[in-house]
């Protein structure tokens, strides 16, 4: 059992948890994730480790999109999670690259945040672009501000920052002559694909963090396979970060839709009695 020591909403449907997991807290590096299972009937789902502290806690930030994440978001400080395993995946490649643009879309900002911090600590000039549908759904703005030399905020409706997509900001920046040495883009698949389309013709090295469906997270099932450079790679052990220009986003998107009907049904059932699952 892994006790939750803090739980609070950052935005509607986005909740931050601090969980006691000393072994993981000690080992984790930016870019790595955990797999959790809420109780013995639950599914195993991957979540990025956003932060850790010296008291043996890890932070995760969860966007409620389906049954498991919404159920998780009903938990409070004092509750426990049955299984938490990690840190999984390869850590982000962090070096002094020069100017690094970190792009986070939606909850992708939470996934990008630890790597932005690490990039800054490694001596890079960090320019962050964070995007969300509207002001309410914008997360981690202050934290990103603190870790970045420059922060651009984009919303679909213009209720905060500039109206438009994160790619608009990126495109403009590059056109205005900013020399970008590396881009890290994390968010919904269409966003990562769009960023890749902006940087590929300009040959700017671009890394994306892929979110395929996972089960074990140790390389045992092969369910998380993604096509990168025409080869099948296991995102849980070879990734989750890959060279965006080599990723087949189409295959990723289609594979992520595989259980759509069952997921929708599970969510419908859950919404009928959200409290009974706990």
């Amino acid at each position: 059992m892994f006790p939750i020591v803090e739980a609070r909403f950052l935005a509607p449907d986005v909740k931050l948890f601090r969980i006691q997991a000393p072994r993981i807290a000690r080992k984790r590096r930016a870019g790595q994730f955990v797999i959790i299972r809420i109780d013995q009937h639950g599914e195993r789902i991957p979540l990025t480790i956003a932060d850790s502290d010296r008291d043996g806690n890890i932070t995760i930030i969860v966007q409620g999109v389906g049954k498991t994440t919404r159920w998780l978001n009903t938990l409070e400080s004092g509750d426990s999670i049955r299984d938490v395993v990690g840190p999984l995946g390869e850590p982000s490649e962090v070096e002094s690259f020069g100017t690094v643009v970190v792009i986070g879309g939606g909850v992708g900002t939470a996934i990008a945040y630890p790597t932005a911090v690490a990039m800054k600590q490694a001596g890079n000039r960090v320019i962050s672009i964070i995007g969300a549908r509207d002001r309410e759904r914008l997360i981690l703005q202050d934290a990103m501000q603190q870790t970045s030399d420059e922060l651009h905020v984009m919303t679909d409706d213009g209720s905060a920052g500039t109206q438009g997509f994160v790619t608009d900001a990126l495109d403009q920046m590059i056109q205005s002559g900013v020399v970008v040495d590396r881009v890290l883009a994390i968010g919904p698949v269409p966003m990562m694909r769009a960023v890749s389309a902006v940087t590929k013709p300009r040959q700017i090295p671009t890394i994306v963090s892929l979110n395929p469906i996972m089960v074990d997270g140790t390389g045992m099932c092969g369910g998380c396979r993604v096509l990168v450079g025409g080869r099948a790679r296991f995102a849980c052990v070879d990734g989750p970060e890959f060279d965006a220009h080599e990723v087949d986003f189409d295959v990723l998107m289609k594979r992520n839709n595989l259980y759509r009907d069952q997921e929708a049904e599970a969510l419908r059932e859950f919404n009928k009695h959200p409290s009974e699952s706990v």
């Binding site: 009937h41 395993v85 089960v215 074990d216 099932c221 092969g222 289609k254 069952q262």
Partner: protein, 485 residues
Amino acid sequence: MAEPLPPKERVKIPRQAMPEQDADARARNFDEVNLGLEVVAAQCEAQRCLTCADPKCVKGCPVGVKVRDFVELVLAGDFLGAASKIREDNVLPAVTGRVCPQENQCEGACIMGKRFDSLAIGNLERFVADYERESGQVALPQRAPLTGKKVAIVGSGPAGLSCAGDLCLRGHDVTVFEALHEIGGVLLYGIPEFRLPKDIVRQEIDNMRAMGIEFQTNVVVGKTVTIDELMQEEGFDAVFVATGAGLPRFLDIPGEHLGGVYSANEFLTRVNLMKAYDSSHYDSPIYQCRDRHVAVIGGGNTAMDSVRSAMRLGAAKASIIYRRSMEEMPARQEEVHHAQDEGVQFLDLHNPVEFIGDEQGILKSVRLVKMALGEPDESGRRRPVAIEGSEIEMPLDVAIVAVGTGANPLVQSTTPDMKTNRWGYIQADEESLRTSKVGVFAGGDIVSGAATVILAMGAGRTAASSIDDYLQTGVWETDPAAAES
């Protein structure tokens, strides 16, 4: 107690059939297929044994279970005594009685099998173990005085469990680390409920817990903690690596990324570990098999377990596609027969060359090529070769790839001073199971490549005895300094 008969009379007794669930009914449920022998049938079977002076059965068993002696105890009606006799060499008899490929091991060597049906040793082993468990009188062996030495076991499959059991008995302080959320390795996530009920595995593990073994789930060694950290920071005096051969192989043909194409590992993990077959109580989904055509590529135990699971998930048609002929299939005979009785179709001498999908990236069909058998290869089996121009396309909804597994590199890559061979398996001295790293031993599938439950258990025992030697003497023989002194 039954009267011993003269040998001439014994061979006249027919081999007692294992009662099983009706094939049509069981093909649609996950309950155990084999129901187990009744007392009368078990004693009748035991009566068939010739009690040979030189019992070949014992040599045929990889761990040397004293078959003749335990069978005599069955005949004498001392079932608990028979169980203790088996436990001298085999800590999981309820498991091996069910899953050993007996026809290649104890029963294959049985002298009676030369002219008549061999003794049903596996069925008797299972009978005895079930009797003991159901009696509630499992005699937990006495533990030796505590030594104060700590041993870490990495992986909780049969190799890890049997090593843990032996070391605990010798008084060492044993902790088993497992990456998944449940203990048991392939016994739990691979072999399905209808062949090996999980309660049996769980009960064995509870017994081990009661003996004093500590189990830590959710620890991926190499990620959560490394072997060096276990030894240097957490005070373990020795480590046994038993991580199995869990890396799935794919066919490397076009279309393998399509929705509806699974590795057998993923399919079986979803069904067994995540209990996707019981979707009203468990959340992990599985791709719809009901009323569809599911084909499994491969001919081993994993393939049989997958195809029979698909049948039980409601498949309209469940097939095996195998590139050699039926005679070469490596699966246990009993599983092949059971699958046939349950209505599984076998398409041998065929090999997939491409999976074909629709616009949504969902599998629609498979292109197959016919195969012929050529010259024997290294394994002694005739090598299958594709017949040119023989391709056919077969409509298919779900494909499960069960063409073998390899070594997962997580532990090896974070333990650079532990040598591996060119396929990534850990190198260990055959007799002692010592690796190239002082204090670290390895065994089971991660050393041998995918093998059997009983061989893995045998490796666990061997490792336990050399770990015990090492802990008592402190001598590491491959260590040149120790060899000199």
